[in-house]
Symmetry: C2
Subunit: 979 residues, 2 copies
């Protein structure tokens, strides 16, 4: 009989308790529904295998809940006993179950749980509404002040294609369809037949997914990526924007405030897809042009459909005098050549309203006219796609197409005012209002494209010019002469660009891109981002090159300071720029800087990266204020740890006070687009979180850091940086250990993203891109890049008796708190026992002390984090005031636990595959264990990869390789995050 | 205290009882929901008016339920007290309330009531499933026989634009949207916000409808009509066909039968819109060409979308050997010029899959190829629209577009078989099966166009040729020489058509049409229908003209015998044709004849029209059987009395036995398309009714008529014909009475349909088209054309002691029963008290004896119908065997009663308007009562009509005229039927 239950390992018991209490687990029948459907598909195609999966699942559960080695060994032995082709399918089965499981999480996402448990409001307009009430009643902010703030605030979401779009498009699609069917199972009242059809549809999708090859066999193109993003714009975002504004208006009405002005939108959208050429040679000038034209085409298309459906609704005959006059002007123009117009509409096969409407239907006269121009706009843009030489901006103008949103906006506004005047308020505030909201958000470009290029490429171009003109080699000048030269050129009217100068292909590509920017309409473009920006000349060079290549509306230039050094002397760079009168007048009092720390995290560790970022922001904003220039900080959110949700609030609160002055620019990564905008309901609450986060950041800013905090951060930042580098760069056995204990060297085969994995081949960590570096440690559940060095820094501060300061910093400083909590979440997911498994099976014994060393540092980090946050164990119910984020933590714990039985078998299988593959590389033939299947079905299974199939490699290698790739995806899905 | 309640007038008490019993009335909250919404809109815009409408409604209800004059006078007095502009709005208010009320009927349509009351099956697949069970278990038909029958049977639905599309498109649209919102109110589980938004959407639509001008101010074009029909094809029918077949397959599976063969469809679709030029000069040859090209364009579009969504689903890598081979062939072709293909797809901006798929995704390779060809097909067809001269058939071939469905079908079938082979049955029977069903139903033309032309037009053409060739004047030859001449020409190869012959515009138009038919692909065309067909030469002439104008696949020629005389000697005409060897070989053993009786009803009365039709069908079919030619009877269903539903079953059962041999061709009228196919659920049960009706007509045919029945019908048919003509054509006071007692002379202003109202101007009834003739009597609730003459015929038979025979005919002969029941339904709706109102206010006293005469004939008809059907009052629960149709009758009674409070005020208002307008015509100025509004709002209201507004006529006339038109539409909606 087991002892009374106090003694169980604490987290899982508490966890169990929670699961049974909250209503959620019991109603988690989606999960079991999908699992049953999946099993029936599995049983249908592979009855034997299904049984094995069943036993593996039960054994995995037994181990997850007991943590005993005896259960682990039963599981490990069972998995090692699988035949190679079985391990492919078992891996695939668990990967599918995991994805299906995640799906059910999306559907009953944790927010809903959260709301039910505390008995709060159930309506989706939660956070903004709450922060409105919170700010007015608790913080005593007046509704007028709130309204004023909302009228100035804007969040600019920049969609970027990111590297690890792990799941294939077609699988993503199927899962999205399953999610829809599940949702309609819940919300619709279905007759029996419909319910059965719904379940059969789910079955068809699950089967389709199961029979689809999980591994993407070749690389996506930039246009593919852009399409992926664009699809969400059309299907979800375009329609949810007006609905969101509608609910905000309702909330404002409840506070006795008017609705948000029609020509102001709370959101704008940008894109990097097809503009980001940093280290991606596939992004050429034609690609950039294509994506801009495509985006405008989508916008024209969307408005076309909206205008057409308005033609049905606005069939009323009363109108205001202004509208009547406007409509008569059009009607007279039409009636002059009515026949020609009818002919034209006929061949455009409009769904109807061929015949020009008469002034007794004034709205239709105006709308029909708008529809014709939109049709023309579409045609012109299509031509531009076909003839890369056509000048987009010019053609739009001369063909009478729409080239600026105001031409669309005025007639629409006129109709709105008319409806209000004639008392048709209900009609005015129905679809007409929605269209006006869409126009002020998406304009004619849908989303504005940023261009991103590395600073050295511009240096080459200017150098090419100065050598050609015999002014010497720009590349060898020091910074001062460069700045002096560039400023002189910028202030003189003389053309600098010599015609007929011959250029290397790299230089030519930069120049071509600039020329393309010159011909595109400016409202299709956003900022020009310089990656690896170091000095002021990097910025000025781009301004000069744009002018030289004929860009009329010169794009605002946003430097991206990536490495630690660039960050530390970013303020100096800014001073040089802003102290120059010409430059200040050129930027019209607004300068944008981009900050993101994926690279800096790689070479200095998370803490010092975060801190130097924090400092850089403060200084940069302070300098801008000196020259009273408004500084906009563009955040590259590296899809940081943890699921979308939480950190938006967290991330925004932990920015230095005053750096978010009412408008936020931030990137949204590839598969985060799917999570945050894939579903209307979730898309809605994404808008909601951003709005309320910015609202609070402005109306209730976080406190500024005290002197003691800053000095403590300095000292900790240095120590963590040393410690981090001591291990990663200086320790002789780290790299060999890294290559053995993680699948980093096998990651190449994943075809993740359109850009190449390594900068230059061979060598240590510094040659790795940030992505694979983080990805590799995620697979083994160590997440080393996140916490390495932090433990020692905290411990050192504690040893110097600064614990009270640390606690104070944790309690009152959102930045420090955010950093610690993020690390805590990662630590909660770190699972040493899994990584020891990798070590036991893959690392030669003389290197395993490295594992010991790393795990001991992990324990130091854990203890330090716990001491600072004053919790007795990770993710515990803190005593802290804000109860919301705690629940989130507990929620994450539940999530990890629910996925564990799916992820554990995948990790074990991964080790088995890595061991077999590496043995094979060393011993060649012998290791294959004479695995030579003759069954055609098996051979088919093994030969789905164009360059790793039984004709090119040993069957055992093909099998283990596929299984490996599948487990990597599975574990990633289990960790649901990337670098 | 009132006497015990036996003494009340019987029908309304019984009616009351029923209303409370059946659960429906209590839950009829949609009705009150819409009424409340409407009132709030009304109150918002016209508070005073709303009150008056409220009192009028209460007074109307009091009268409807008491039938006492005191209540009627209170109502009539109140209505006469309205100011002219008020009567416009009151009329409009009741018209809207009536339409909204009808809407709720649609939603909770009577079928559902029917099913609940008898506790029958609730699933939508009712009638077919029931008839399947009924035929197998009760009639002992074996499932195999049923299956065989279903595999041969086909219903061909021909959509025609009909004349009284009473409601304007935009109002129809709004009501359809309201219906959707109501339905989602019932089926979806909505959060509070969504429910409120749903209600606000309803409010916005009701308001939009209220503020829209009800009266259509100008004529629709044929293409408009075709679009209307086409819209239902895309939005509803295209998607419901596969779902219907799926449910039939399930029902068959329950009987242990396989699914219906993939290449057989239970339904085909045809169209007259843009092909029917009978008396409609707007239908020209270009129009015909346009609608055919448009239909193909729609089909290409529909398949394009389907194929694209399949590209996402079929991402699996396993395939059958045949498919693999097929896919490789395509992939090799693609890979040869991969670059060109990518370029092309790029500029077609496909949503994605630009890059050619590899053979590891065989399905996508095949689908991508199909998508390209469909894109080409679309482009080619667009060109054809733009260049009227392009030869459609030829261009499709040379551009590699799809010109025959088999090219689309084979690859699709190949993929289906592949999925079955690899065990992916769930995938095969999901979307792939649906697409195959759509292909076998709609092919590449979506629906086939019939051409309809009057016989005399062809006579002119042949005459023009013979005179030109100096062969004499064809028009003056007698029938025998014509037939001899035509047959000689048809069997000789010599061209007859002289080039450069000059033709009158009418002749040229016929020739142009024939040439267009020659260039269109034959699968876009159906039958060539000759209206007013009299003799065999009418048919042969068309065959000849087609050949002479180069029509390769000569269209089957279907004569339409309209008048009584043509019907009586239709058999002789058929004998002449079918006895000719050449003709029989030409028609390949299948002859189609069209029968419809709208005109014959007008000049001989309903009974003799129905009877002579019945006889004609029997004889024609018998003659065809002699020459063993399969005769297809094409039914022009004149949207007969009563709402869609019922009569399909009834109408099909009352066809002579054996005339429906497994395939039915029938027309569906304009606004019946809306009713039968507007909503997916209703569309479904329409398919269902047709299928089961045909199934039963074949497997369980009605009995053939006995000798005594035939002789009785003869005698009755003659008497009713005499009586009918005695009144309508010979009675000197009938026409004057008709013009006074109905709004027939004011109907012109309605702009109903694209064809002109009168054949030639002035004169009596025979110059009227059938439509206005019936429509006028419907307005006054007399429905005279339906029953006139029938009473005397029945009474005469009863007086001759033939009552037992009549009862026998009613009991056992579906034809006679159907005829009597249809008349009974109309009689139940006839309301003498309303028509007496028209008389009292509009007919001079020396003509009112005509009213007496007509009403007395009505009573004779009522008594006779009751005696024959053995009921004690109209629509009573018959003792008859089939209980289903009785309930329907009671149902109709409930419906009439529920609408009565809305319709009565409209009728009274109509009389008031007619009286004022006619007084005005006689007395000119004085009658206007000096009505001279100065309020601009009122003037706006009065000047919505381009040629009847205060600037062109007296304000009183403009007001009364608008109000009149609105009441006419309202009453029509109340009677919900047309001619």
């Amino acid at each position: 009989m087991d002892m009374p239950h106090e003694m169980l390992s604490a987290p899982s018991a508490v966890l169990m308790e929670k699961m049974v209490m909250g209503g959620s687990a019991i109603l988690r029948d989606d999960d079991s529904l999908l699992r049953t459907v999946f099993f029936s598909v599995l049983r249908h195609h592979h009855p034997n295998l299904a049984r094995k999966v069943d036993v593996i699942y039960a054994l995995a559960q037994a181990w997850v809940s007991s943590g005993e080695d005896s259960d682990f060994d039963m599981l490990e032995k069972y998995l090692s006993g699988l035949k190679p082709e079985e391990s492919i399918l078992v891996a695939s089965a668990f990967s599918h179950m995991l994805n299906l499981h995640n799906l059910t999480e999306d559907v009953s996402s944790s927010e809903r749980e959260h709301a039910i448990r505390l008995g709060e409001v159930e309506a989706p307009t939660r956070t903004t509404n709450r922060s409105l009430i919170n700010l007015t009643t608790n913080k005593g902010v007046s509704p007028e002040a709130l309204y004023k703030q909302l009228c100035e605030q804007q969040v600019d979401l920049v969609l970027t294609a990111h590297p690890t779009q792990a799941l294939r498009g077609s699988l993503l699609k199927k899962y999205a369809s399953i999610r829809e069917e599940l949702a309609s199972l819940h919300t619709k009242r279905l007759t029996k037949y419909e319910k059965i059809e719904c379940l059969e549809a789910i079955k068809a999708y699950v089967q389709g997914a199961w029979r689809t090859d999980e591994i993407r066999r070749q690389k996506p193109t930039p246009q593919d990526e852009m399409r992926g993003g664009m699809a969400y714009m059309n299907s979800v975002i375009f329609n949810m924007i007006p609905i969101f504004h509608r609910r905000i208006d309702t909330a404002l009405a409840n506070l006795g405030q008017p609705r948000i002005p029609l020509d102001h939108s709370l959101f704008k959208f940008g894109s990097w897809m097809g503009g980001d050429r940093d280290g991606n040679p596939n992004v050429t000038s034609t690609v950039t042009r294509d994506v801009c034209v495509l985006a405008r085409l989508e916008a024209a298309n969307a408005y076309f459909n909206v205008i057409e459906s308005l033609m049905f609704d606005l069939s009323i005959w009363r109108a205001s005098p202004e509208l009547k006059e406007f409509a008569e002007a059009i009607a007279n123009k039409d009636s002059r050549d009515a026949a020609r117009i009818r002919e034209e509409r006929k061949m455009r096969n409009y769904s109807d309203f061929w015949v020009p409407a008469t002034v007794t239907e004034p709205f239709r006269v105006v709308l029909a006219e708008m529809r014709d121009r939109l049709y023309t706009t579409r045609e012109v843009l299509r031509q531009c796609l076909v003839h890369p030489k056509m000048n987009v901006g010019a053609v739009l103008l001369e063909r009478g197409a729409y080239s600026h949103i105001s031409e669309l906006w005025e007639p629409m506004k006129l109709m709105y005012d008319s409806l209000i005047q004639t008392g048709d308020t209900a009609l005015a505030n129905a679809k007409v209002l929605d269209v006006l909201r869409q126009m002020s958000t998406f304009e004619l470009s849908m989303m504005r494209l940023d261009v991103r290029q590395e600073s050295t490429r511009h240096t080459e171009v200017v150098d090419c010019i100065t050598t050609y003109l015999g002014l010497g080699s720009y590349a060898e000048w020091d910074e001062a002469t460069r700045v002096e030269f560039l400023l002189k050129e910028l202030q003189s009217k003389r053309p600098l660009f010599p015609p007929g100068m011959d250029m290397s292909p790299d230089v030519k590509e930069v120049v071509d891109t600039m020329r393309v920017l010159a011909e595109l309409p400016s409202d299709s473009l956003g900022a020009y981002v310089i990656s690896m920006a170091r000095t002021a000349s990097d910025v000025l060079a781009v301004v000069l090159l744009q002018r030289e290549c004929g860009v009329k509306d010169i794009l605002r230039v946003a430097p991206l300071f990536e490495t630690l050094d660039d960050l530390t002397n970013a303020p100096a760079t800014m001073t040089t720029l802003l102290s120059n009168d010409w430059y200040r007048s050129h930027i019209k009092g607004m300068q944008e800087c981009m900050i993101g720390y994926s690279d800096s995290g790689k070479d200095a560790g998370r803490l010092s990266a975060a801190w130097s970022l924090f400092e850089a922001q403060e200084k940069i904003v302070a300098i801008a204020k000196e020259y009273n220039v408004k500084m906009v900080l563009f955040h590259g959110r590296g899809g940081t740890v943890g699921r979308g949700g939480g950190p938006t609030h967290l991330a925004i609160r932990s920015q230095p006070a005053g750096t978010i002055q009412g408008c936020l620019r931030v990137t949204v990564q590839g598969e985060i687009i799917e999570q945050q905008f894939g579903e209307p309901e979730v898309c809605f609450s994404t808008f909601d979180r951003y709005t309320s986060a910015v609202l609070e950041a402005v109306m209730d800013p976080p406190p500024s850091p005290k002197e003691t905090w800053i000095s403590t951060m300095h000292q900790m930042s240095n120590i963590s940086c040393e410690q981090y580098r001591a291990i990663v760069f200086k320790h002789k056995d780290f790299v060999p250990y890294f290559n053995k204990a993680t699948p980093v060297s096998e990651l190449g085969g994943l075809n993740i993203g359109s850009r190449p994995a390594k900068r230059k081949a061979g060598g240590g960590v510094e040659t790795l891109r940030a992505i694979p570096w983080i990805f590799a440690w995620t697979q083994t559940r160590m997440h080393l890049p996140v916490w390495l060095g932090l433990g020692e820094a905290l411990q050192d501060a504690i040893d110097k008796g600064q614990l009270p300061v640390l606690k104070e910093m944790y309690e009152e400083w959102p930045f420090f708190q955010g950093t610690i909590d993020l690390v805590e979440m990662v630590l909660a997911k770190a699972d040493p026992s899994i990584s020891m498994l990798y070590e036991k099976m893959l690392v030669p014994s003389e290197l395993s002390y490295m594992g010991e060393l790393i795990r001991s540092k992990l324990m130091i980090a854990k203890k330090a984090v716990l001491t600072v946050s004053g919790k007795s164990c990770l993710l515990q119910e803190g005593t802290g005031s804000e109860s919301k984020k705690m629940a989130q933590a507990a929620d994450l714990e539940v999530k990890i636990a629910l996925r564990a039985p799916y992820v554990a078998p995948l990790n074990i299988l991964q080790c088995i595959c890595l061991r077999t593959l590496r043995e094979f590389e060393e011993k060649g033939e012998a290791a294959g264990g004479g695995y030579n299947p003759t069954d055609p079905e098996i051979l088919d299974l093994l030969s789905r990869d164009p360059n790793k199939n039984p004709t090119t490699v040993q069957p055992i290698v093909a099998a283990m390789y596929d299984a490996l790739l599948i487990t990597i995806k599975g574990v990633a899905a289990g960790m649901q995050n990337t670098g």
